[in-house]
Amino acid sequence: MRLSKAPLTIALAGNPNSGKTSIFNHLTGANQHVGNYPGVTVEKKQGRLNFKGHHIAVVDLPGTYSLSAHSIEEIVARHYIINDKPDAILNIVDASNLERNLFLTTQLMEFNVPVIIALNMSDMAHSRGMEIDREKLSRLLGVAVVPTVGHKGKGLDELVQQALDTINNPKGYHPAQVNYGRELEHELGSLAHALEFDKSLLNGYEPRWTALKLLENDNEIREMVGFSAPGQKITEAAEDARRKLQSLFGDEPASIISDRRYGFISGACSEAVALTEHHRHNVSDTIDLLLIHPVLGLPIFGVLIWMMFNLTFSLGEKPVEWIEVGVSFLGRAAERILPGGILADMIVDGIIPGVGGVLVFLPNIMILFFCIALLEDTGYMARAAFVMDRLMHRIGLHGKSFIPMVIGFGCSGPAYMTARILEDKSDRLITMHVTSFMSCGARLPIYILVCGAFWPVHAGNVVFSIYLLGIVVAIATVKLLRASRFRGMSADFIMELPPYRIPTARSLLIHMWERARVYLQKAGTMILAASIIIWFLMTFPQKNKFDTDYDSLINQTETTALAGEISDTEKNRLIAQYEGQREAERIEFSFVGRLGRLIEPAIKPLGFDWRLGIALISGFAAKEVVVSTMGTIYGVSDNEAESGSLRRKLAEDPQYSKLIAYAFLVFVLLYIPCMAAMVVFLRETGSWKEVGYQLLYTTSWAYVLALIVYQGGKILGLG
């Protein structure tokens, strides 16, 4: 018997689309914490619930259809149940979808943790003509059953109360055991007996469950048991048993086990469920007629995505401006308040613009994820994947890969985050790797600058060709990756198409806030650190003696202006020019400038000089920085950079040609995404190795294609 006030832990388990998340949201409200399970990128959602004086920790396990070892989510869910031993499992079951949902239930019941079934969406089941006798179902399964309507929060008090009752009365919990048939049960019995004999092999796992997994040929359990010599004997015995059963049934034991589970479920359902009438999915079917229509489905999807994309950037425009104004105000205020010195420089020139530059995208991120939550919660996302699968599969991607790739045209960071919707790991990684080639919005100002300088008439066409090249490179990369690191086809497409639902505002807002919080955390930690580093590299070593005495030049200008020899506008122009030249000299002397010189031999074959090298390096901080860095290097002040004088300078520079300009555009399109995006990439993949690959893919494409453009162009006499 537990002390009633001791902290308890309850885990939520269930199928995707069972309404698990809305129950979790209702139980925990704003008391949520999203993290990752150690070592994997599966999200771990935890929350707190205070119920009648009990402090209960609620853990939302990943939504799964089963607990085999075939997907990372399934492994995470079963590890959690076995190792962390929650006090109870709330199994959220979609009542209108009972048989399929109970398949997971039969597996949850095999653990030594009490299960309580939440018969969710029971209102929908009722309206579909399903009458579920919950008492009977509860008796047949040996598990308490509580009807709930998750998105309305109905039945949740009773559910938690039932969980507490079950926890406090462990003797009253007798889950039914699936009978796997005489032959299988015989093998199960002897394997479980052998396992029980040497408890060290079990690592705290249940003997019967472990034996069952051995018969299913579960990789993870086989390796765990077979680790030692006595364990190996057991795995060999299991192998013999599997062969015996296979010849007896003419099928894999794993399939027989699944069949028996479904048999058990069918038996229970045929007794506890009465179908009064058969009219289901009426509304959903009608909507589907249009949305997944073989011809119309694709254009409809295109329009919806276009709307989402537009909304993200147009609706976000104003709040982005407000944040920009706020950041620059903060910068000026800091400049005024802080006493001069290195620390103040670091804050004013490093931290505030660095972190601020990332913060400005927060409104876009929030709108984007609100739209995505809307598409997911209504049930449309599954249809979008269905519609896109034909096209994407031919390329070697999954139907759902399309969504992060489209978002990549806006900003790579949120696009990587969106790749979470792909369950299969290699699909997810390939999608993330190629999403970088979807030219992000921050690269556009660079294209505009360069194209404006070299192709004043055909700028639009040139920019379009760059976007197109990005798509071609993405497709080529998918093909290359599928032929090398991720051999084989894209994960087979099988997906539930849940009935359409009207989402609740609450759940949409919670989804949006979750993403925003992750983004803010990132801005506060890694980006803060990185902006300090970049500021350092651009500031040190400091140059105190300049080649030209700019200070006296400026003084001189001011004196002549005072004397009335030149106009005020002329004075300001000259001063800006001198300050720009001084800044250019300063940067050339800094670590970043030296780096530019250092890499010059490497980028020479592409036609780039050290100045373009520095501009490209600074683009790692953020792609927007490339233009302002170029302004600095070419000695143009910030305001002038936009007004076209930088464009003129580039066009008139004898060192550059159209060929070099195009090679530069190609390089900008394909080379490494910015630091902020890479931080997200690391967080989402959880692997430095993948970040390394990303740097390798992007940089090699950029280098090779820019080289081909420049050298090829020279051979053709275009230089």
């Binding site: 799964t64 259809y65 089963s66 085999s68 075939h70 997907s71 209108s96 979808n97 009972l98 048989e99 399929r100 398949f103 997971l104 299913e216 040929n217 099928d251 894999e252 794993a254 399939s255 699944s258 069949d259 479904y262 048999g263 069918s266 289901r280 999915h281 959903s284 079917d285 589907d288 997944i292 073989p294 599954a382 994947a385 269905f386 519609v387 699968d389 034909r390 599969h393 139907g399 086809m489 087979d492 497409f493 099988i494 997906m495 539930e496 198409l497 849940p498 009935p499």
Partner: protein, 90 residues
């Protein structure tokens, strides 16, 4: 009872794969030509041997939509070719 014609369907008319199944007809799943991993995965989604499937959408290209155990599933063309079904007389 579902188990009465388990793996030896009585009402078989036509042996084929899901890829060529006709819209509106009801089929019974008789086997999946794939590794255990994929078989487990689709089984967990309600598609085990003996399951009755109703074809909702099959345009000959792209994924197939079907209804099984009161759930709608979308299944890619490649996978549909691996799922053997027989039409059930209705």
């Amino acid at each position: 009872m579902r188990f009465m014609f388990h793996r030896a369907p009585m009402g078989a008319i036509d042996d084929s794969t899901l890829s060529s199944a006709r819209v509106g007809k009801i089929y019974e799943l008789v086997g999946v030509d794939a590794g255990q991993g994929l078989r487990d995965k689709i089984c967990a989604m309600g598609l085990n041997s003996g399951a009755q499937l109703k074809i909702i959408l099959n345009s000959g290209r792209g994924p197939v939509e079907l209804e099984v155990r009161q759930t709608r599933l979308g299944i890619g063309r490649g996978m549909a070719r691996k799922i053997r079904v027989v039409e059930v007389a209705t």
